[in-house]
Amino acid sequence: MTTPILTLTIDGKEVSGLATETILQVARENGFSIPTLCWLEGLTSVGSCRLCMVELRGSTALHPACITLIQEGMTVTTSSERLLRYRRAIIELLFSERNHACAVCVVNGHCELQSLAQQLGLDHISFPGLYPALPVDASHSRFVMDHNRCILCTRCVRVCSEIEGAHTWDVKDRGIRSRIVADLDTPWGDSTTCTGCGKCVHVCPTGALFEKGKSVAEMFKKPPALPYLKATRAQEV
């Protein structure tokens, strides 16, 4: 059975896409930029960072573009003043949640959170910082987990479970107390399931996961390998 091709309007431009595609996919194919943090090509979409929210004509609610499938005749707005205000506020909330001092961060200059803040013109945050006292887990021989930089996008959890198949990472507790944990909350270095593949480090959008022994200048990440990995594996099967 062939997948139907649908037409829709994004920011006034008529575009087309497959019925199985999301607004985000079609928008990016057509050169519209919608910011995302939790979404990453190759991983399942969870719609949790709420940055890719878009407006749909005929609906007062906002919809996450990463998970909303396109529909025939849909009219999408990806960047209204209202959306930009919300996106800025969400980034501000992320900055206020933990300690994000870019000047002393290992991924300064290679951080997705930092670039998004720059793109949205953020030069300060209006919400008071919560600064929880969080540990840095450097028990692994090659990598470090710094909870102070974590934004709980769960890319590491998903890549480890879905691509590597180890499911070393998961989330413990709930709400503002949520933390990423290895195995059943053991130090990363003691993890019996971690294969040391480093995929989690490379999909992490911030400095929460990084490699030991690299300078800030070398600390860029390589998430684009995921779709390639997935495609080759699908061929093997």
Partner: protein, 538 residues
């Protein structure tokens, strides 16, 4: 064949009950203190006074008026005793057939009882929750037998749609529409879920229904399964409700043994099984997609909808998910026909609604009223007005997802629409009466602390926003807030409402927003004045 067996149980049980001159009903819910002791004391009194052949002591479900509990009801005289203690047992038994004990007697015409319209609570406090014969004698499972014998699934779907029944879990989604969607959905098997994860502070409607008439919930579920074509059902109930869980287990077993559950129910071609799933007490697991994940054995996190559970629910299969009270509405609706429900309530909010009336009213407890009743009638008549010397300030409805309705708007009829217009919601049915001694800032801070603790942490606005809002409210409580804080509070509330992933985050700001709308003065009074700033400077 099966009908005969049920008729035999009914006849035998009725004969047994008719042997006794007096039936003494004792509340056996979790809510009433010492009710077990009272029942045992009454049983001892019957023994010592040699009245075993004349008096039957029976444990029953909640009778509603919790503030006067423990309650004891004497039948057939319909005498109700309040605040009974084990020490009163001898006297109560001795007075049977004679003049009633005046100091314990509740007035027969108490508005708390006479002004209610009991539908789903009609058997609560009148039957032994764990006894199948009791439920059968009271007319239980007749609606199911009628359904299986004479109705086709489309007939039931039409009845539910015609009745205009809306989901009693809070959002008020049309039940008939949901059922019809699941019935039409492609995919097999189809699942059915009873959402008994009641977590609102101050609410105990579902718990009470499950403790008082668990068979009625099963009956509603079985009929729903027949209507939508589901073969497996789950009751998702929190582990904090041990008595309800214990009773559910018991009635599921009894129903299975009597062929009311399981394979070819009552000789029909309906196969339906029910399992219990215990929730660990996360508020977010009341949200349907999080609840479904929790049943699947995963971390209870919500996911964006669509796809709705009706299309892709439990393990990706079509799933019907309704609240306890919604299922409890089904048997009477089928028995009396859709018009009966449609004639009660308002045009768009039909039928009756159970509320847990708590707070500063004289009579607190579980009540059931027709939709459209004015809040004033509920507070003044059924609730008996405020406790001595206090004046009403507001009524909080809908728990942490709801809002406060000020005293000036007390003539609002209770319906989904009218409450929504005031920025509140029906919710599952918590109703807290607030008097002049309470600060609205304190109340909303409490609700926001609840939402912050119960946020699952998946989406950014809810995870961080609830914590930020709570911190701001603490500043108000400490009289250290500024006008900028007030602006930020409103902005954060707007952000959460519009960008959160699930209902928890989207509705978390409701108490704050409604308090800001009706009691703004109290927030402004918490703002530190310029002078106050001067004073604290060194």
């Amino acid at each position: 064949m099966h009908r005969e067996k049920i008729d035999r149980i009914i006849t035998e049980h009725r004969q047994f009950l008719d042997q006794f001159n007096h039936h003494v009903f004792v509340c056996s819910g979790l809510g009433c203190p010492r009710n077990d002791e009272i029942r045992r004391a009454l049983e001892r009194a019957v023994q010592t006074q040699h009245l075993q052949d004349a008096v039957l002591i029976r444990k029953v479900g909640c009778m509603g008026l919790c503030s006067a509990g423990p309650l004891v009801l004497i039948q057939p005289q319909e005498l109700m005793y309040q605040g009974v203690q084990p020490e009163d047992a001898e006297e109560i038994i001795a007075s049977l057939g004679k003049s009633p004990i005046q100091r314990l007697l509740l007035p027969a015409d108490l508005a708390f009882f006479t002004r209610q319209h009991k539908n789903v609570l009609r058997l609560s406090g009148r039957i032994d929750p764990e006894s199948l014969p009791d439920y059968l004698v009271a007319g239980g499972y007749q609606a199911l037998l009628k359904t299986l014998a004479t109705l086709q699934p489309p007939d039931i779907l039409r009845s539910i749609q015609d009745s205009g029944l809306r989901g009693r879990g809070g959002a008020g989604y049309p039940t008939g529409l949901k059922w019809a969607t699941v019935a039409k959905a492609q995919g097999s098997p189809k699942y059915l879920i009873c959402n008994a994860d009641e977590g609102d502070p101050g609410a105990f409607m579902d718990r009470s229904l499950l403790e008082s008439t668990p068979h009625a919930i099963l009956e509603g579920m079985i009929m729903a399964a027949y209507a939508v074509g589901a073969s497996q059902g789950f009751i998702y109930i929190r582990a904090e409700y041990p008595l309800a869980v214990q009773r559910l287990k018991r009635v599921i077993r009894d129903a299975e043994q009597n062929n009311l559950l399981g394979h070819s129910i009552c000789g029909s071609n309906l196969n339906f099984h029910i399992q219990i799933r215990l929730g660990a007490g996360a508020f977010v697991c009341g949200e349907e997609t999080a609840l479904i994940r929790s049943i699947e054995g995963k971390r209870g996190l919500p996911r964006p909808r669509p796809p709705y559970p009706a299309e892709k629910g439990l393990w990706g299969c079509p799933t019907l998910i309704n609240n306890v009270e919604t299922y409890a509405n089904i048997p009477p609706l089928i028995t009396h026909g859709p018009e009966w429900c449609a004639n009660l309530g308002t045009d768009k909010s039909r039928g009756t609604k159970v509320f847990a009336l708590t707070g500063r009213v004289r009579h607190t407890g579980l009540i059931e009223v027709p939709m459209g009743m004015r809040l004033r009638e509920i507070v003044d008549d059924i609730g008996g007005g405020l406790t001595e010397g206090h004046t009403l300030k507001a009524v909080q409805t809908g728990g942490p997802s709801g809002g406060c309705i000020p005293a000036a708007l007390l003539d609002t009829p209770v319906s989904y629409e009218s409450l929504n217009e005031l920025g509140s919601i029906m919710g599952s049915g918590g109703m807290i009466v607030i008097d002049e001694t309470s600060s609205m800032v304190d109340i909303v801070t409490y609700f926001m602390a609840f939402c912050r603790d119960e946020s699952c942490g998946k989406c950014t606005p809810c995870r961080v926003g609830t914590a930020q809002i709570h911190n701001l409210l603490i500043k108000f409580q400490n009289h250290r807030a500024t006008m900028a804080d007030l602006e930020m509070l409103e902005w954060l509330c707007d952000l959460l409402k519009n960008t959160s992933l699930c209902g928890l985050g989207q509705s978390a700001p409701n108490p704050v927003l409604s308090a800001l709308r009706f009691f703004r003065r109290e927030f402004l009074d918490c703002i530190a004045t310029e002078q106050a700033h001067e004073e604290v400077k060194p």
